[in-house]
């Protein structure tokens, strides 16, 4: 029974389809695991035991009736608490949404349900996805299963930790500046930020609309690809959704052949601030790519150094507007409504009590950046930087198929270490942010443990927009080669919980 939680999603789906195990048994095994370890990990904000078992039973019933099951039917999943789920609480890690039960499913939630995926519950996150450590959750930090005293990355630390702790074989994250890839990197799991517009944002509670992108998290590249195919595709309810076929990511994940591919190493992602062990594993990965038959070249993207400041103008600007709706009028927290106060006062008191310090910081930053007289200097300039970054990518992709870099400059840092230093925290997303600004696709996958701390290091692969399949082709080949070298997946080296 304990073996079930170690299955990959692909193995689980196959076993359910073949009748070797029921979806209910699979779901129960994971619910038991959550029960056993999540007090320590705190990956979940809400476990939907009843909903999960009901969904699992429905899959078993469909199988019993002889219906064909999809490639992920009966596979449990941990859903980041930023997607709406009809009838199931959705908090975004914030007090201000405490008690809110959405009346509707996000498009992504609905697609998962249609695919027969069993949603176990909602995972912890930095409040409104603002952060790189999950310490900004109003509901306490999540521990990194490799070392519970360390951060699991953020904002999607709950989803990544759930994978690494074998609480779920699949998870959903959202990536605005690295919130899927950075947690993937520091927990030794796989995380993909699909091309902006390829996974519907309808029902994704917005942090920064032009940057937010939902995506798959898994323990293997193939599992990520299977989940990617289940959630991607045009949605008429999201105007920024791309109306084009989803790249064949599952096929690409299975290719395991990168001979002849041209791969660029981004020169700017190295140097001061990069941990030695991270660079060591990264450089070994580059060597591996060569051994696998790819042609590796160095490329320069000079504007990438401007990405972080541009991001911290654009994302807070949009956030200041997106988060204005939390005004205590229609849902969520309401503070000070004792009959003596005006609506305006109740809104102010509620926002003061309901938002955490990082959210307030970004609302203030964004409000300032959009103010009349400052707009051109801040938001306007940041948008120009965004264009420059896109041009750097275009130029690079004219010569190479994908770019690679470390996902994060360092391995997981101890909880509390950067909590009072926002600038240090922001640096965790240095390598991931450019892809959000350009809207292209990127993946992080484990490439070893840093020798100095025995913590996972992530390799980032970046592909042009709508060429997400290239991520999986390279990722699948690297993963296979590394697993062969190690004799087992990296995660097996994590200490038992």
């Amino acid at each position: 029974m304990t073996e079930l939680i170690k299955y990959t999603a692909a193995q689980t789906a196959a076993a359910v389809a073949a009748g070797e195990v029921s979806a209910v048994e699979v779901a129960q095994a994971h619910l038991d695991r959550i029960e056993a370890v999540d007090k320590k990990v705190n990956a979940f904000l809400h476990v939907d035991t009843e909903g999960a078992l009901k969904a699992a039973r429905a899959v078993d019933d469909r199988r019993a009736r002889g219906e064909e099951l999809g490639p992920l039917a009966g596979v449990p999943l941990a859903l980041k608490d930023v997607f709406t789920t009809e009838g199931v609480p959705t908090t975004c890690g914030s007090k201000i949404l405490e008690g809110w039960i959405p009346p509707y499913d996000a498009t992504l939630t609905a697609r998962l349900k249609d695919a027969g995926v069993v949603i176990l519950g909602k995972t912890n996150m930095d409040e409104f996805a603002m952060g790189s450590s999950t310490e900004n959750s109003a509901y306490g930090p999540t521990g990194n299963p490799w070392d519970l005293a360390r951060i699991p990355g953020g904002s999607g630390g709950g989803s990544a930790a759930a994978l690494a702790a074998y609480e779920a074989p699949l998870a959903i994250g959202t990536d605005t500046g690295g919130s899927i890839r950075q947690p993937g990197a520091v927990t030794g799991t796989v995380g993909v930020k699909p091309t902006y517009g390829s996974v519907s944002r309808f029902g994704l509670v917005a942090f920064s609309s032009s940057l937010d992108q939902g995506g798959p998290c898994a323990r293997t590249v193939l599992d990520a690809a299977l989940l990617h195919e289940a959630i991607a595709g045009h949605d008429p309810l999201d105007s920024t959704s791309i109306d084009a076929p989803v790249p064949a990511v599952v096929e690409a994940a299975r290719m395991r052949d990168i001979r002849g591919m041209r791969i660029g190493v981004v020169k700017e992602f190295a140097g001061e601030g990069y941990q030695a062990g991270v660079m060591q594993r990264f450089n070994e990965s580059v060597e591996l790519l060569r051994e696998l038959g790819a042609e590796v070249v160095e490329v320069s993207c000079p504007s990438f150094t401007l990405a972080l400041p541009a991001y911290y103008l654009i994302a807070p600007s949009e956030a200041s507007s997106n988060l204005a709706r939390f005004d205590a009028m229609r849902y969520g927290l309401r503070v000070g409504d004792d009959g003596s106060r005006s609506a305006e006062e109740v809104t102010a008191l509620t926002r003061e009590a309901g938002f955490g310090p990082e959210v307030k910081r970004r609302i203030m930053l964004g409000t300032y950046a959009l103010s009349s007289g400052y707009y051109d200097a801040y938001y306007g300039s940041a948008q120009k930087v965004r264009t420059l970054i896109s041009r750097d990518f275009d130029a690079a992709f004219a010569g190479v198929d994908v770019l690679v870099s470390p996902t994060t400059p360092t391995t997981a840092f101890p909880i509390g270490e950067r909590a009072d230093d926002p600038m240090a925290m922001y640096l965790a997303d240095l390598c991931t942010i450019p892809s959000n600004l350009a809207g292209n696709a990127a993946m992080s996958l484990p490439c070893g443990l840093a020798p100095e701390d025995n913590l996972p290091v992530g390799l980032q692969i970046i592909a042009p927009a709508m060429a997400d399949d290239r991520l999986y082709r390279v990722g699948g080949a690297v993963e296979a080669a590394l697993n062969e070298k190690w004799g087992h997946p990296l995660l097996e080296e994590a200490p038992a919980l």
């Binding site: 959705t90 996000a106 920024t240 600007s317 507007s321 204005a324 709706r325 939390f326 009028m329 229609r330």
Partner: protein, 500 residues
């Protein structure tokens, strides 16, 4: 509010030149809202026509209503505007409980239509060109009802009720360039502009544009500058002026108020003001210190709108006959002089006449009733001509009864009165009031004989050949029959009896 004595209108205009800007919001009559599929039907139970998107629930996203865009383009074309090849929505950020997202999805520096004009005709027939700055798309807010408190505004209210059925209904905001050179006629131009715009909107079929239902709302921006000076003065913005007459009154009042402040050596504060229908004055609303910085930025949840030139030209080619062209055609069809046509227009009688003609009445008869009796009544009650409690079909029926000789003019007037008083259809009123013309000789004979007997000297004159004296006897008969006699028949009977 202290009572101040205002500078007279004439004195104000002797020293100052008014500059106006008009902002008109039109609620489109699309079936669904601007950014979601909810119904726009008016009058539903509060908060029944809502969904996650128009309630601004977390995670919801907007999708642009194609008909909304099409309507905006058609309005732009009818206003002789250029249509943007590429434009975007923008967020206008401010907090207010009736705005679910606490930002309004609107357009800022990239409107869909810009640089147009509308020619409007004043009451004396003079044509004035109002230049259009822009027409842009946005969404309406929910509706707040503030209960308790003296003013009906949020401050001082005990509680407020919110109805989000209106939230997300498409709005087109049409903004004029500064209207200069109208002088003393500025208020009249304002009214004529809104009237013409309303007719245009209705002709396009994009909205009913009922001001009393809030489907069309007007903000009057006004400033004064000393005559001869180039630079504009500080403006006031009088919000939500909701009838044609009020638009004129508000502009007029603001001219006098500004002149009064300026004549006193005071300065005009840039502020929003509220217009009061009851006494025709305005009072200060939000002052500048509290004025908000809307922090506009391009709406990241929507993609740019880039109407193809083919589509724009298709829409242009399919525009209906516009009001000015139509009016010229009707004037020719009805054979009216400019002056007569102007009277029809001023009375708002075009549609009633058209509908009456469509119901079978001759144009001149239809015009006679709508411009006469009914216009008088509308004027007295301060209501719109089209809103009188009589239908064009009923007026047409009265015309038919006259044509058939069943009613004379005087009786017809009484029938109209009866219909207006709610006594039923014209035929029922004739029946109930016993108003049919009496042309039965035997019934008239006695009255004729009596009139001859009562007026022997007149009868003698007629016998002597002075036939024109017959009028006095006809009058006597009509009086005796309380106007119900067929006057022509009466005349014949008198002349017959007197052998003239």
């Amino acid at each position: 509010m202290s009572v101040i004595s205002l500078v007279s209108y004439e004195d104000a205009l002797a020293s100052y030149d008014p500059v106006m800007g008009l902002e008109v919001h039109v609620e489109l009559g699309t079936r669904t809202k601007m950014f979601c599929g909810c119904s726009t039907e008016l009058g539903a139970e509060p908060n029944t026509q809502t969904c996650p998107t128009c309630l601004g629930l977390p995670g919801s996203l907007p999708v642009v209503n194609r008909i909304g865009v099409e309507s905006a383009i058609r309005i732009g074309l009818a206003l002789n505007c250029e249509i943007a090849e590429w434009c975007r929505f923008a967020r206008k950020n401010y907090f207010y409980p009736d705005m679910p997202k606490n930002f309004q999805t609107s357009q800022y520096d990239e409107p869909i239509a810009f640089n147009g004009y509308l020619d409007v005709q004043l009451e004396d027939g003079e044509v004035f060109r109002v230049e259009i700055e822009r027409a842009h798309m946005e969404e309406d807010t929910g509706k707040s009802t503030h209960v308790g408190g003296a003013t009906g505004r949020i401050h001082g209210a005990e509680y407020s009720l919110l109805d989000y059925n209106r939230a997300g209904i498409p709005l087109i905001e049409i903004v004029t360039k500064p209207i200069v050179g109208a002088g003393a006629r500025a208020p009249e131009v304002a009214k004529a502009y809104v009237t013409e715009l309303r007719e245009l909107i209705r002709t396009l079929g994009v909205s009913e544009a009922r001001m009393d239902k809030g489907q069309m709302r007007c903000d009057v921006n006004l400033s004064l500058r000393p005559i001869g000076r180039e630079k504009f003065g500080t403006r006031s913005e009088t919000k939500n002026v909701n009838s044609l007459r009020s638009v004129e009154r508000a502009a007029r009042f603001e001219i006098q108020r500004h002149a009064t402040v300026l004549a006193d050596g005071g300065t005009i504060v840039q502020e929003t003001r509220h217009f009061h229908e009851d006494n025709g004055t305005t009072t200060s609303g939000r002052i500048k210190e509290e004025a908000e910085d809307y922090r506009y930025f391009p709406e990241p949840d929507l993609v740019p709108i880039a109407p193809s030139r083919e589509w724009v030209e298709e829409l242009r080619a399919a525009l209906p006959e516009l009001p000015r062209v139509r009016r010229a055609r009707l004037q020719a069809e009805w054979g009216l002089s400019d002056k007569d046509m102007q009277a029809v227009l001023n009375a708002g009688a075009v549609e009633p006449i058209l509908e009456t003609v469509a119901a079978g009445a001759p144009a001149d008869q239809a015009r006679k009733w709508w411009l006469g009796e009914l216009a008088r009544r509308a004027n007295e009650t301060g209501t719109e001509l089209a809103d009188q409690p009589i239908t064009p079909a009923q007026v047409a029926r009265v015309c038919a009864l006259v044509a058939e000789g069943k009613l004379n003019d005087k009786l017809a007037r009484q029938v109209i009165e009866g219909v207006l008083a709610g006594e039923g259809e014209p035929d029922e009123v004739v029946e109930k009031r016993g108003l049919a013309v009496v042309s039965d000789d035997s019934a008239l004979g006695a009255a004729v004989d009596q009139a001859i007997a009562d007026n022997p000297d007149v009868a003698a004159k007629i016998r002597d050949g002075k036939v024109q004296a017959v009028g006095a006897l006809v009058g006597a008969v009509m009086k005796a029959t309380r106007g119900q006699a067929d006057a022509a028949r009466v005349k014949d009977l008198i002349l017959e009896r007197l052998g003239a």
